[in-house]
Symmetry: C2
Subunit: 113 residues, 2 copies
Amino acid sequence: MSDCIFCKIVKREMPSQIVYEDDRVMAFNDINPLAPVHILVIPKEHLTNVLDINENNADLIGHIHLVINRLAREKGIAEKGFRIVTNCNPEGGQVVYHLHYHLIGGEKLKNFA
Amino acid sequence: MSDCIFCKIVKREMPSQIVYEDDRVMAFNDINPLAPVHILVIPKEHLTNVLDINENNADLIGHIHLVINRLAREKGIAEKGFRIVTNCNPEGGQVVYHLHYHLIGGEKLKNFA
């Protein structure tokens, strides 16, 4: 998707604070953080949102969660606590239409809907 | 875990409005809904939270997401939009210490932290 900002981040055509990368996913700091730790974890492949997940690519979601666990431990928020969120389509609050998981923590979080 | 309320729901020792079940997961309506649709999807196996996910059981997370997609479509909120949330440990807002994913939708959702 040539006009997708997250695809541009993956291709390094747009700057970001990358905190993790492997062959399938990338993680970078949210530019409008809602909490002291606010990282987005995305697949490098362009998927619109979680509705693009099916039996053939569902293992990607497990992998993303392993990366999130690793980042939560690295950032020192695993035991205190954190939240994982993915928003899908307008009423869910999705803003960028490239699948992404929010890792949020570093303070006591409020309600989530 | 004999004192875990979600384990009791799995064993049908406690009532719940079950909306989906298979050999690995169960889904039921949240008793304190934050939105018109608020379903919890849990593994039948007792896992404390997402930090219990490792390379040996990460496929469970993909499966939970496939179940969520199916429920979102069944409830008619897939295209309008929905949110998926898991809270981990106190600052994340975890209340019941049995891994669960919230599927929330049916109205325009507010912010999530």
